[in-house]
């Protein structure tokens, strides 16, 4: 049992590594944690189009906020 769980964990880790590599290649700007969240969401059948749109919007929003903070500061 333990070894099976271990193997499974290994597989997950490997998969995540590969995905991170692809993500880097494609310059998505996702770090490990957000990537794993995204992967989990995708695995639940979320529409990737919508998800990508959300991420982009969030990025924009945070940029804007930062910019406005900067300007007020």
């Amino acid at each position: 049992m333990a070894s099976a769980a271990n193997a499974n964990l290994n597989a997950v880790r490997e998969t995540m590594d590969v995905l991170l590599e692809i993500s880097r290649l494609l310059n998505t700007g996702l770090d490990m944690e957000s990537l794993s969240i995204c992967v989990r969401l995708c695995e639940q059948g979320i529409n990737p189009e919508a998800l990508s749109a959300v991420i982009k919007e969030l990025r924009k929003a945070s940029e804007t906020l930062k910019a406005s903070e900067n300007s007020t500061n």
């Binding site: 490997e14 998969t15 310059n27 998505t28 639940q44 529409n47 969030l58």
Partner: protein, 895 residues
């Protein structure tokens, strides 16, 4: 997304928001709400769920950026990924990364350009429903420009999407940003489902016309009027209307039971235009209820049948699309609520807007409601006919709708049909198909009675001719299986039997009834019928049996019949009660062995048999004797019991006529043999002459009759039959040709009811011939007796003279004289008997001729000419003269 468990997307989304913005949960609530909404409204992806396609896209993207090495690296990584089985939705992850990917060489600074816009625009965008495009600002973008921006996937997604905009390039003008800020796809479930998307129809919700007509008018439509007290706001009405659309009573608009329509509560204060608009919209609710009621009532009713079920399913499908539209409207409304009252927002729902948007759905619902009304109480093929009749409309949208429903409805029918014509199986539990089967019918009547057409269930898109062919195909297959015990798998009979037809095929067949469908049926018909005829001819010798009927029952085999008659004559003159079937069967076998019949197929000779008809007192063997032919198995379908009855009647008639010929031959033989002997008795010459004249009259009559029977009746009909059988395409053709043959033979042999008189006359003539034969026989007998006595007397006289005695004594001479005297005295009696016979005979012939002349059958009239070629009878019979005259006058061309 209602449930919030540990792994729910909402939790994940929230952590994602925190992660990306780098803020705490409380701070990102705004963004989180937005994210939930966007994801929630875009559950189904518009793109192909194909990992390969996505990976190819990524490679292409990398190549475009001139990063060939990275592309290779990616394929390597992708292959690695594929070996892992951890991920179920690889394409999804890949797609996500693809859409997030950015060209590293381009500056990523454009994000900053959005600046402060997002903070306020986000909430507004969040509720921007499909009709986002109606903002006046977006009009600045041309339709063409925008449509070019649509991803290619929209066209093939099967759902006509609305308001799908991508970022309009990196340039940041305020206008394009406003429209560009919505990279999210929100779409109205276009009412036509995926099935219609293939048809070249204009999109149900054309983007630009709606824009153009609504755009400019919107601001003016939302002028805020000063409200009266207690007046219902438009927003409340809209909410009500949305409920009414689903058939639920609203606060103000309620179902009125007595008028059977939705009505606005009379007490509600409302301006007239709003009241009017809302009652117009409320019609949708009424239509919806109607359709809904029908499907609810029927969908659980099993006896409604498969066709009915598929009709309900089609209606459900339509309703589902309608509900999807409603749910979009609802969510729009909800968003507005959350916003609080924003009366001036151009994109909010108004009654007028609803009126325009709901126009097409209304037309569709109307069609559905009309269909439901029309299909009430129908099922099976009848239902399909009803739907089909609605498809004959000029409106392309309506036609497409009806066509789609029809393709669903007719699918079970086509399934029945293919099962039937390829496997011969009838799985029609609810009696919906147009072929009916009667389980009580046994195998021997299978072809004739078991299967029939249900006229009312023939869909109108299937012609009567096709329906008949379909019936015949399945019937042939069942006949092969059950009667011929032919176990050829159906696939071998019809090579093109791919019975697994998809609904798409069904739709195609309906639109192209002339071509493919007809061809399919024709091919199946041709193959099956041909196979059936082959089996019947090859294994069951149908044609040989037909010929055997002609040869034996219709006396075609002359030598055999003649020999049989020779052999049977001593048996048949005896009273019928003393005949025994086994004796006759033995004679029959002798006759077969002695004539050419012995070379016939054993299969046929085996079936040949003798039958004795019912005996009535006083009958001789001639009256009850009959040949018989046993038929069973598949050929009994052609030679039915009735057919065999007809054959026996015809045989009886022909046998009688043949016997007359035979009798007359005997008479003639007697005349020839005795003529020389009786020359010595000059006192007989008058009587003999009378005999000869009468005999030749009879011979002439019988010869002409035989000629007529042989050539004009049998040969002509037989030739027709043979031609038809050779050309026959299916068993029905053969049966019909055979029945026609028998009918024509029966009627021309005067055996049918209409020529009963003629037949009676003919029988009387035949009786006269028999009587004449016995009269002549007795005449010859007494004449020959007398002759031998005289010869003996002369001999004795001579003998005594030689012995030297007196040749005759006076006593002897007196005795001799007395005897001669006595004999001569019987001659006048004979003469008068013959005269009476002649008179009777001629009378009957004359009557016969009169009947012939008045008969409607041309060949019978010609027979009368032939019988009376020298107008012998005409001179005697005034009626003949009259009828001939009238005939001549009537149709001079014929004579």
């Amino acid at each position: 997304m209602a449930t919030l468990d540990q792994k729910s997307p909402n939790v994940l989304l929230q952590s994602l928001c925190c992660r990306i913005t780098g803020k705490s949960e409380a701070e990102v609530a705004h963004q989180f709400q937005y994210a939930v909404r966007v994801i929630g409204s875009n559950y189904a992806p518009t793109i192909e769920r194909d990992e390969f396609l996505v990976s190819e896209k990524i490679k292409k993207e990398l190549l475009k950026q001139r990063r060939e090495a990275d592309a290779a690296l990616f394929s390597e990584l992708h292959r690695k990924l594929q070996t892992q089985s951890v991920l179920k939705h690889r394409w999804s992850v890949l797609y996500l990364m693809l859409s997030l990917s950015e060209d590293p060489r381009k500056p990523s600074g454009r994000v900053g350009n959005y600046g402060a816009l997002f903070a306020q625009a986000l909430p507004r965008d969040a509720h921007s429903t499909p009709f986002y495009c109606t903002r006046p600002q977006s009009l600045a973008l041309g339709y063409g420009e925008r449509s070019a921006g649509l991803p290619a996937s929209v066209g093939t997604s099967g759902i006509s999407s609305l308001g799908v905009y991508t970022l309009n390039g990196p340039t940041a003008t305020p206008q394009s940003l406003l429209s560009g800020l919505q990279p999210v796809r929100l779409w109205v479930p276009g009412w036509p489902g995926p099935f219609l998307s293939a048809a070249p129809l204009p999109p149900l919700w054309p983007l630009s016309p709606l824009d153009r007509c609504l755009g400019p008018s919107v601001p003016s439509s939302r002028v805020v009027r000063p409200r009266k007290d207690g007046e219902v706001s438009e927003a409340a009405l809209v909410r009500d209307i949305l409920y009414v659309f689903q058939g639920i009573d609203g606060k103000f608009i309620k179902m009125s039971a007595q008028d059977n329509c939705y009505k606005i509560d009379g007490k509600v204060v409302l301006c007239k235009s709003l009241r009017d608009t809302s009652s117009r919209l409320a019609e949708l609710g009424w239509l919806h209820n109607k359709v809904r009621k029908y499907t609810d009532a029927r969908s659980l009713d099993r006896a409604f049948g498969l066709v009915g079920q598929s009709f309900c399913a089609a209606l459900h499908q339509e309703l589902k699309e309608y509900y999807r539209l409603l749910s979009v409207l609802h969510s729009q409304l909800q968003v507005e609520d959350e916003q609080g009252v924003m009366v001036c927002t151009e994109s909010s729902l108004t009654l007028r807007r609803l009126l325009v948007w709901m126009y097409d759905p209304k037309v569709r619902l109307k069609t559905l409601a009309a269909l439901v009304d029309f299909c009430q109480g129908r099922k099976g093929g009848e239902l399909a006919s009803a739907v089909h009749s609605y498809g004959k409309t000029g409106d392309p949208q309506m036609r497409a709708l009806v066509q789609h429903i029809l393709s669903l409805v007719s699918n079970p029918i086509l399934n029945f049909l293919y099962r039937w014509i390829y496997d011969g199986e009838l799985e029609d539990t609810y009696h919906e198909f147009f072929v009916a089967s009667d389980p009580n019918v046994k195998a021997d009547r299978l072809w004739h009675d078991k299967y029939s057409l249900r006229k009312s269930m023939i869909p109108t898109f299937i012609t009567m001719d096709q329906a008949r062919k379909v019936l015949l195909i399945g019937k042939s297959i069942n006949f092969l299986h059950q009667v011929c015990h032919d176990r050829t798998p159906p696939g071998k009979i019809t090579p093109a039997s791919n019975s697994a037809d998809t609904p798409r095929d069904a739709a195609e067949l309906l639109s192209d009834l002339e071509g493919a469908f007809q061809e399919k049926i024709d091919a199946a018909y041709f193959d099956t019928s041909k196979y059936l005829l082959d089996v019947l001819n090859r294994n069951y010798l149908l044609l040989e049996h037909l010929q055997a009927m002609r040869r034996y029952l219709l006396l075609g085999q002359g030598d055999f019949i003649r020999h049989l008659m020779d052999l049977l004559k001593p048996e048949l003159v005896r009273p019928a009660t003393t005949l025994y079937q086994h004796n006759l069967t033995g004679i029959l076998e002798t006759a077969v062995r002695a004539t050419n019949a012995q070379y016939d197929n054993a299969e046929i000779l085996k079936r040949l048999d003798v039958r004795l008809l019912e005996v009535s007192p006083g009958d001789t063997g001639w009256d009850v004797f009959s040949l018989d032919y046993h038929v069973d198995g598949p050929i009994a379908t052609v030679f039915t019991r009735e057919c065999m009855g007809h054959y026996l009647r015809v045989f009886n008639f022909l046998w009688r006529a043949k016997r007359m010929e035979y009798t007359l031959t005997d008479i003639w033989k007697g005349q020839m043999c005795n003529a020389k002997l009786l020359k010595t008795m000059p006192e007989l010459s008058g009587v003999l002459h009378q005999c000869h004249i009468l005999a030749s009259e009879m011979v002439h009559f019988i010869h002409q009759m035989q000629y007529y029977i042989t050539f004009e009746v049998l040969e002509c009909s037989w030739d027709e039959l043979w031609n038809r059988v050779q050309q026959a395409q299916d068993l029905d053709h053969i049966i019909a040709a055979h029945d026609l043959f028998l009918d024509s033979v029966i009627s021309r042999c005067l055996l049918d009811n209409s020529s009963r008189n003629l037949l009676n006359q003919l029988r009387a003539i035949f009786d006269q011939i028999i009587e004449f034969q016995s009269a002549q026989d007795s005449l010859y007998r007494s004449a020959l007796e007398e002759l031998t006595l005289r010869l003996q007397f002369e001999e004795k006289k001579q003998q005594r003279e030689e012995e030297g005695q007196w040749g005759v004594t006076a006593e002897q001479e007196a005795e001799e004289k007395k005897r001669i005297q006595e004999f001569q005295e019987t001659i006048p009696k004979m003469r008068s008997q013959l005269r009476i016979l002649t008179h009777f005979y001629q009378n009957i012939v004359q009557q016969f001729l009169v009947l012939l002349m008045t008969s409607t059958d041309e060949s019978l009239r010609f027979l009368s000419f032939r019988l009376d070629f020298n107008e012998h009878y005409k001179a005697r019979e005034p009626r003949l003269r009259a009828s001939l005259g009238t005939n001549r006058g009537r149709r001079p061309s014929n004579i």
